[in-house]
Amino acid sequence: MTDSKNKHVLFVDDEKNILSGIRRSLRAQRQVWDMSFAQGGEEAIEVLRSAQVDLIVSDMRMPETDGSELLHWVAANQPHVIRMVLSGQCHKSKLLKIVNNAHQFLTKPSDAEHLIEKIDLAFKTLENSGKQNVHNAVASVGTIPSPASAISRLQQVQLDDDNAESQLKDICVKDIGISSKLLQLCSSSFFGTPLSHVSIEDAYAALGADTICNLIEAGVFVANHQRSDRIEQFLEMINEHSQRVAKRSVQLLHDSEVEANGLTKGMTYAGGMLHSIGRLIFVSYWGEAYLDATQAASDHQDLLDAEMEEFGTTHQILGSNLLRLWYIDLPLNEIAKASSSSSFPEQKTDNESVFQVSGRQITEQVCPFLRQAIEQESFA
């Protein structure tokens, strides 16, 4: 039964009953996955050291090494492992530590179907990546880097100021790193009931200014690597370009005959903001090598060619994989298809980027405007 091609899932909980319950309820999956069960953080680290694990599902509150410490260890030592939390309840202070180390947050009780669905979907990203280092680039993202200017503006917001809230919101919705993190946190159960089809503004509202301030204080939005001026400029440029695309696509939607509700508008804006998120993944994983490889590209097609040639993947693949890993329900894949020519190998997907059936309609509504906006905005 230990087919080496099977994906390996490790479940961690301090409660033995939980582990044996999961083991039994996932019995039917034994042909599909290899499964290990560790009672506590130390045991989990032993398993991770001795076997190749692809995905870990961990409880949060455990004696000694708890979930937050365990996932921190995994993110630091085996960043390719997909990390999920399965927890009943935990302190906010622990949550703040986990937001950059866990890809998704599931709540107890979660039934087997639910678990299987989430795990399978996450494994799809692994398959879509094809090569291990492409997967690593996506899985190791804690936060998408924000330009230093955005971070310093964030830190300068004086909370006692009357305009503080609107200033804070303005910074959040205009920054790819922050808005993608907010979307991630709302799309699974980090801070409450998960929301599907959530706009950046909704995510901001759902989390609330207090929690967002806590995230800022906890240093969630400070990207953790040394940056050259060149990368800094690149981050500024991508953010600025994405803002323009987002604004224009909303404008196009507005000018059209299409009856748009708040959700469609919000999704359009989010799609515009995040359409180039893959380029930021490239930069945070490969650094200036990415800029070197793509600096000659003069249009969108050129860029994709260059990315493919040098790294064997494109920013569209990276971007949509990250969103899927974070369980963000945005049709990035569709946007990608819409805006790229067919000269690339089609991704082996069947629209899973849109998890919900109702989302498909939104996708159909949103994509044309995004494509138009991307075409109209000068290439960045």
Binding site: E15, G21, S25, P63, K108, P109, D111, A112
Partner: protein, 439 residues
């Protein structure tokens, strides 16, 4: 000569008259002065009287005096307001008739109500509302008579506010606990669900296998060939891993049953805990109350400490306000857990424990809550019963926990609390509760 005599006589008489006049004048002057003094005294007396009356009339406290036979002699307007009856009506009554729980009997018992400190009694006012009154009764003995003075404070509103505050605090802690309770319930629900799902699948597998056995039975009955069916059975048994199922099904069933039992226990404890409680004191098994408090707070302590209980079997039921004791015990357990958590911040390897023991001590029950947490400094120890005193960071402690414990144990149940603590080593809170609270 005759003239001389006459002259002398005249002189004598004149002198006498002068003397008489002077005497009269001095007497009338004395009289005048005396009269004036009297007027002044009368004025002063009237003034004093008016002042006393004004004090009596305007005092916020009800002031009632009565004679040794209990007949009311003075009844000020504040008293009229408190009891809702006029002075005229009051004059016709005995003092003890004003109260629900004061009875003088034939008068011999009056002295037993004269105490050094004020005490709370209940009265039913003219509108039928129960009022909580703080009464200070003193005895005034003079040469002529014995009289009693009662100064009465209306505590009804204050008590109502306190009760509201207690409810608010209880709801706050219930709300806080709810999150922990949710976790306590989520865990068993998770594995009850998982095991049940497994049982369902296992049943499907077994039904399939059973179908093949039926086929075999049929074949045997018909005298037909059985090789193929037996093969099928063997194959199916292997596929569904019959051995595994035979081993796992009983365990899964047991865990599912245990899980529902655990949920039921938690829900029951929460229900008992959050029950508003009766306003009357009832006799309860104190060990059970402690167990309930430990169950609802389990999520607060289970990650930091082991809970050890040593409940005396001979501990009698205690007549008490059970809601108050629930809350007091919960506060003590949560405090112990926090103290251990605090110590573990510096000593991560420190194994925490919380011990609760109960003993009967004559007509009292002794409860001891001890922990090996961070302990308290002498300064902290002195202040723990002060309202709003907390050692927790801002936003985490309201400083009400221990002052509540004090109010509930000492004031409400006439119990006593003693605190022992050593900084860095742990604390021990010892409580004595009378089995039957004194009147």
């Amino acid at each position: 000569m005759e003239q001389e005599v006459w002259q002398r006589r005249v002189n004598r008489e004149r002198a006498a008259r002068n003397e008489a006049e002077a005497f009269l004048e001095s007497k009338s002057r004395e009289l005048y002065l005396a009269n004036q003094k009297l007027t002044k005294m009368a004025d002063a007396w009237r003034y004093e009287n008016e002042k006393n009356q004004a004090i009596l009339d305007n005092a916020a406290e009800g002031i009632v005096t009565f004679e040794a036979d209990g007949n009311i002699a003075t009844f000020n307007p504040a008293a009229e307001r408190i009891f809702g009856i006029s002075i005229e009506a009051a004059m016709l009554r005995n003092f003890d008739e004003l109260f629900d729980d004061i009875r003088f009997g034939d008068g011999a018992e009056i002295d037993s109500y004269v105490l050094d400190e004020a005490k709370e009694y209940c009265a039913t006012d003219a509108n039928g509302n129960t009022r909580v009154l703080n009464v200070a009764l003193t005895k005034a003995e003079s040469n002529r008579a014995i009289s009693f003075v009662a100064v009465i404070q209306d505590r009804t509103k204050k008590r109502a506010l306190e009760a509201q505050l207690a409810v608010a605090q209880k709801m706050e802690s219930v709300g806080h606990l709810a999150a922990g309770i949710a976790h306590e319930i989520n865990t068993p629900i998770q594995y009850v669900g998982d095991n049940t799902r497994f049982l369902q699948e296992a049943f499907d597998d077994l039904t399939g296998l059973l179908g093949l056995y039926e086929k075999l039975l049929f074949a045997v009955e018909q005298g037909a060939a059985t090789d193929t069916v037996i093969n099928e059975i063997q194959k199916s048994a292997e596929e569904i891993d019959l051995e595994f199922l035979a081993e796992e099904i009983p365990q899964a069933t047991e865990q599912a049953i245990n899980g529902t039992g655990r949920v039921a226990k938690i829900v029951r404890a929460m229900k008992e805990f959050s029950h508003p409680g009766t306003e009357k004191q009832v006799a309860v098994a104190i060990n059970h109350v402690l167990e309930t408090a430990a169950t609802v707070s389990r999520n607060e302590w289970k990650y930091v400490a082991e809970m050890e209980t040593d409940f005396g079997e001979d501990v009698p039921d205690v007549t008490c306000y059970v809601g108050d004791l629930n809350q007091a015990f919960l506060n003590l357990i949560v405090n112990a857990a926090h103290a251990i958590e605090k110590r573990q911040e510096n000593e991560p390897e420190h194994k925490g424990w919380i011990r609760i023991s109960t003993r009967r001590v004559d007509e009292q029950v002794q409860l001891i809550f001890s922990d090996n947490g961070c302990g308290m400094s002498n300064d902290t120890k002195e202040k723990i019963f002060q309202p709003f005193f907390t050692t927790k960071p801002v936003g985490q402690g309201t400083g009400q926990g221990m002052s509540m414990v004090q109010r509930f144990i000492v004031e409400r149940h006439s119990g006593s609390i003693s605190v022992q603590s050593q900084e860095g080593a742990g604390s021990e809170i010892s409580i004595l509760l009378p089995v039957i609270p004194p009147r």
